[in-house]
Symmetry: C2
Subunit: 327 residues, 2 copies
C-alpha cells in the first residue's frame, strides 16, 4: 500500500485522468513522459484516437522582442473566444542550467487562475535533438487532453529553435523595431520557416521601417507562400485580433490545400524516426553493445580501425544480436 | 579512360597522396569525405595508424571578439616554432546559407602562400549533429596528413558550438571587454567547457574589469581544473606567446593525468555512436523501411498507434530484416 502510494497512480490511470480534464494528472503525466519516454507503451492506448485535434501555433524570436507579452495577449484573445489554451515554453539555449523562463512566466500570471489555460516549461537536458522530441511528445499529450490551441514559445534564433518552431501548424516569428533583429532572423534562417512575421512594439520608432524591410524580404522569398507581416503592440493589445485572424487564415489555407495533413504526416514520421534512433542509442548504452563500443573506440584510437568501419561492425552486431535472456 | 579522368583518382589514391603531403589531394579528400562519409571504407586503410598525433585546439566566442585575428596570430606563433598548422573554420549558425566565414578568411590571407598552413571552412548542412561528425572526420584526416597542430574555430555560443569545441584537446573561449560577452558566455555554458579563457582586445577600456570578473567566476566553478585566464591583444600580437604556453601547459597536464587518452577514447566512442545512428538513419530512408515508416506515420496520425510503439516496431523490422538482394 505504502509503496503504491509513493509510486502514485499507474501511468495509464494518469493518462485517463488527464484526458478527463484533471490538471494535476496532466502535469504529472507530462513529467512522467519527459523523464521516461518508454511510458508511451503504457499511456498510448489511453491517448490513442484523441491526438491531432488542436491548432498548434509556434512563436519564436530573439530575447527582448516581447514573446511572453505577445503569448499572453494571444491567450487572452483565444480565451475570449471560449477556446482552451495550453502554452509550452521551450528554452533550448540553457543546456546546463535548466529552470529558465521563470521570470517570463511571471508575466503570464494573469492566466494563473483560469482553468482553461495550462502553462508548461521545457528546458534542454543537453541532449542533441532531445528537446524537439520532448516537445513533440508534450504536444501530443496536450492535444489528447483536449486543448483547442497549443502555443509553443521558444527563445532564440538557432537551429534548435527552428526545429521546434517547425513542430507547429503555423510558425510565427516575432521581431521588434531596430536592434538589428530582422537581420539576425534572416541570418539564422528563421525567415524561411516563418508563416507569419510579427513586428511587435509597433508603437516605437522604426516600426514602419522594419515592416517595410520585412515586406520587401518576403517578396524575395523563392517558392511557397509568402508570410503575412502583422503589426502588433502586445502591451497595448493592439494588432492581436489581426494576428489571431492571420494565424487562423494560414491554417485554413493549409487545410484546404492538404498541406496540413502532409505536414502532420511528415512530423509523425520525423518523430518515429527520432524515437527509433533513440531506441538504438539505448541499446548501444547497454550490455553487450556498450563493451563492444568501448573496444572499437580503442581500435580507432590505436589507428587499427577507422570510425566508419567500426560503426558498420557495431550496427551489424546489434542487428544480429540475440535478445539477452533475462537473469 | 575519359570516364576515369572525370571521376578523378580513387579515394584510396587521394588518401595516400594527401598523407604524402599533396595539398590538392588533401582538399579533395576532405570534400569527398564530407559529401560521402561512406568513403571511409575505402580511405580508412590508407589513414590507419596515422591518427592521434596532432595537438588539437578549439577556439570559440561570440561574433566580433576577434577570433580570426587571434587564430591568425596563433598560426604565426606555431609557424615560428616550425610546426605545421591546419585551421578548420566551422560555422554552425548558417543552416540555410552556407559559404559563411568568407570575410574572415580574407584576414587569414597572410598565411595563404605558406605550405605549412592549411585552412578549410565547414558550414552546416542543416543536419542535426551532422556538423560535429563532419568536423570530427575532417580532424581525423588532417591529423593523418601530418599536421602538428589543428585549430578548430567556431562562431557563436550555442549548443552546436559547444559540441564542436569539445572535439579539441584544449578548448579556448574568447571574449572581449564590455558588450556583455562574458555574461553571454556564461549563459550558454561556454565557461563550463573552457580550458583557457582568452580576453582579447586587452588594450581597450574595461579589460581589467572583464579579467577580474572572469577570474572570480572561475573560482566559483565546481570541480575539475580551473581554466587559465589569458590577456591578449591579437592585433598587436601581445599575449600570444603566453596563450601558446597556456594551451601547451593544459595539454601536458591532460597527458600526465591520463585525461588526454580518456578524452580521445570518449570522443572516438561518440564518433562511432554517431556514425552508427547515421547508418540506421540511412536504412530507414531506403526500401523497405521507408515505406514502413510512412505507413506507421499514418497510423500515428489516425490515433491508432502511439509514436513510441511505432518506433519499437520499426526498429524490430530493421533488426529482423533480411538483406535486400541486389537486383
Amino acid at each position: 500500500m505504502h509503496a503504491d502510494r509513493e509510486r502514485g497512480p499507474a501511468p495509464a490511470e494518469l493518462a485517463a485522468a488527464a484526458v478527463g480534464g484533471d490538471r494535476r494528472a496532466l502535469a504529472r503525466l507530462l513529467s512522467a513522459v519527459e523523464n521516461a519516454p518508454a511510458l508511451w507503451r503504457e499511456i498510448g492506448p489511453a491517448l490513442a484516437g484523441r491526438a491531432g485535434g488542436a491548432q498548434t501555433v509556434g512563436l519564436t524570436g530573439a530575447p527582448g522582442v516581447g514573446k511572453s507579452t505577445t503569448v499572453s495577449a494571444l491567450v487572452r484573445a483565444y480565451r475570449g473566444a471560449g477556446r482552451r489554451v495550453a502554452v509550452l515554453a521551450v528554452d533550448p539555449s540553457s543546456p546546463f542550467t535548466g529552470g529558465a523562463l521563470l521570470g517570463d512566466r511571471v508575466r503570464m500570471s494573469e492566466h494563473a487562475g483560469d482553468p482553461g489555460v495550462f502553462i508548461r516549461s521545457l528546458a534542454s537536458r543537453g541532449r542533441l535533438g532531445g528537446l524537439a522530441a520532448a516537445t513533440a511528445q508534450a504536444l501530443r499529450v496536450l492535444e489528447a487532453a483536449g486543448f483547442d490551441v497549443v502555443v509553443v514559445e521558444t527563445v532564440g534564433v538557432g537551429q534548435a529553435e527552428i526545429d521546434i518552431a517547425a513542430l507547429a501548424d503555423t510558425t510565427c516569428v516575432l521581431l521588434a523595431p531596430g536592434a538589428g533583429d530582422d537581420v539576425q532572423a534572416v541570418k539564422a534562417g528563421l525567415l524561411e520557416v516563418a508563416d507569419v512575421l510579427v513586428v511587435n512594439k509597433a508603437d516605437r520608432p522604426g516600426a514602419a521601417r522594419t515592416i517595410a524591410d520585412l515586406t520587401a524580404m518576403t517578396r524575395m522569398r523563392a517558392g511557397g507562400r509568402r508570410p503575412a507581416v502583422v503589426r502588433v503592440a502586445a502591451t497595448l493589445g493592439e494588432g492581436i485580433d489581426e494576428l489571431v485572424e492571420r494565424i487562423a487564415a494560414h491554417r485554413r489555407d493549409l487545410a484546404a490545400t492538404g498541406e496540413l495533413d502532409r505536414r502532420r504526416l511528415a512530423r509523425a514520421a520525423d518523430e518515429i524516426r527520432g524515437l527509433t534512433l533513440t531506441a538504438l542509442r539505448d541499446r548501444l548504452a547497454a550490455p553487450p553493445h556498450d563493451a563492444r563500443l568501448a573496444e572499437l573506440a580503442h581500435l580507432v584510437i590505436a589507428g587499427t580501425a577507422d570510425p566508419w568501419s567500426a560503426a558498420e561492425w557495431l550496427l551489424a552486431d546489434v542487428l544480429t544480436a540475440q535478445p539477452v535472456p533475462a537473469p
